[in-house]
């Protein structure tokens, strides 16, 4: 495999865009799992060749596939994420789909996490072959209150997403619940605490509610300890853990653009640099580029100011959506940025957002884009 891979999960399969690390020539590998929903596909940065894919075939239920050779061949997990069978007469839960995959800490090879719909957390210690529920969360007496009911969930069901393992502490995890809010554990999932102070939740009667928020995408900085960013249903936020209270850095976005969106991407080295893809959150929430003119917005000062980055993108009548998993960055210098759209396009910038290029058209609805550096 060449030096750079984009794992593009779509509504009808997985596609892998490949290039050398000069990012000049691209080729397409796939489709893998044609006809099946691929919510997320991730390369294990610890070995540079294991890939996991969250797959759901029509009505045949959810599963996880694993590749040990950078996506050339795939094998289904022997024991996919699933709830324990409930004792009668209780009505137990069933996993609808696996939504998010995250490798464990660098010091724990083989450890993976999976977030599902309905909102639940699963872990694997054998590289994704067998999965167990993280009972400290899934069995928490308050979990049903945290995640709410069907009326609180997005149209495709509530999801547990944005699983971030603290790069400085393997026992410290952050997760996002849509709906439910941000939660963290400092003991490998045994106990959990809401982490939503300072976040707006304009759809809740109590503006200072402890949970019930709607984080869209949460990112913990990989190199700078205790720096966390969040694209939320109600804005863009940054958290300095010394304060333990979110600051709405989206207030510094242009007023006519606002700070609603789904994805948020961090620079792999500089904790002051981040990118978002604003969406129209007015009236009935169209979730399309504002005015049909798509643009990435970037900050290089931790959210104090934002710059529009749209050179090369369509100048009008472009109405796609970029979903929360569908935007990412590589770790090269300068950083490459990538996003996929609901109308099957993949766009790239090789200069940190200054200019955009369309890598491909005509894919199915893109659900996720992960940039990876296979070995």
């Amino acid at each position: 495999m060449p030096g750079l891979a984009l794992l593009v999960g779509t509504r009808k399969g997985l596609f892998i865009l490949k290039s050398g690390r000069d990012r000049r020539r691209w080729s397409m590998d796939g489709p893998h799992f044609l006809g099946e929903v691929v919510n997320h596909a991730v390369l294990d940065p610890r070995d540079g060749r294991t890939m996991l894919a969250a797959v759901r075939a029509g009505h045949l239920g959810p599963t996880v596939f694993r590749s040990a050779d950078s996506g050339r061949t795939w094998r289904e997990a022997a024991k996919p994420p699933a709830f324990a069978k409930a004792a009668a007469p209780a009505e137990g839960e069933s996993v609808s789909h696996v939504f998010w995959l995250a490798p464990g800490h660098a010091s724990e090879p083989g450890r993976w996490y999976a977030g599902t719909s309905p909102q639940a957390l699963f872990a694997s210690d054998d590289g994704g072959d067998t999965w167990q529920g993280v009972e400290g969360f899934n069995g928490h007496p308050d979990r049903r209150r945290w995640i709410g009911g069907p009326q609180d969930a997005p149209p495709d069901g509530g999801t547990l997403h944005s699983i971030n393992v603290d790069p400085f502490d393997p026992a410290h995890l952050y997760i996002g619940l849509s709906g439910g809010g941000v939660f963290e554990t400092r003991d490998r999932g045994a106990t959990w605490t809401p982490l939503n102070r300072g976040c707006a939740a304009d759809f809740l009667p109590d503006p200072s509610a402890e949970f019930g928020h709607d984080p869209h995408c949460l990112r913990v900085h990989p190199a700078q300890r205790d720096v966390v960013y969040q694209q939320n249903h109600c804005g863009i936020y940054r958290l300095d853990r010394a304060r333990s209270r979110w600051t709405r850095i989206g207030d510094n976005m242009p007023r006519e653009i606002g700070d609603v969106g789904f994805p948020l991407v961090l620079h792999p080295r500089d904790p002051k640099i981040a990118w978002v893809f604003p969406m129209d959150g007015t009236t009935v929430w169209p979730r399309t580029p504002i005015g049909g003119r798509p643009a990435v917005y970037g900050t290089r000062d931790a959210g104090r100011s934002w710059k529009r980055l749209d050179e090369g993108l369509p100048k009008g009548q472009a109405w796609f959506t970029v979903k929360r998993q569908a935007m990412g960055a590589d770790a090269l210098d300068p950083v490459g940025l990538y996003f996929g759209t609901t109308n099957g396009e993949v766009w790239a910038s090789f200069d940190e957002g200054a200019r955009w290029h369309c890598l491909c058209l005509h894919l199915p609805h893109v659900y996720s884009v992960e940039a990876a550096l296979p070995r």
């Binding site: 075939a57 029509g58 009505h59 045949l60 239920g61 599963t63 289904e76 022997a78 996919p80 699933a82 709830f83 324990a84 069978k85 409930a86 009505e91 137990g92 839960e93 069933s94 996993v95």
Partner: protein
């Protein structure tokens, strides 16, 4: 007994639509199918032992509505996966 599978499940049987499995009930038959073709049961039955939406079982052409349906070695089983959506 003979079990006829829909196309979405043949990735578990080496591409075969018709396979053999045994059991005194539909539930036992599905357990035997799982032993012979690991992973196939979870595609039809979820972790709460509920039949997944749009999966249907027919015994000698008659729809079986419960997993405790008794089976005879001469029965023929048809599994239908009515996938839908655009």
């Amino acid at each position: 007994m003979k079990v006829s599978l829909p196309s979405p499940l043949v990735s578990y049987t080496g591409g075969r639509r018709d396979v053999e499995a045994g059991g005194a009930t539909l539930a036992a038959l599905l357990e035997d199918l799982e032993r012979r073709h690991p992973g196939i049961r979870f595609r039809m039955i979820d972790e709460q032992d509920r039949v997944r939406p749009h999966i249907k079982f027919f015994v000698n052409g008659e729809m079986a509505r419960a997993l405790d349906r008794r089976l005879d070695p001469a029965d023929e089983i048809l599994v239908v996966a009515a996938l839908s959506g655009g």
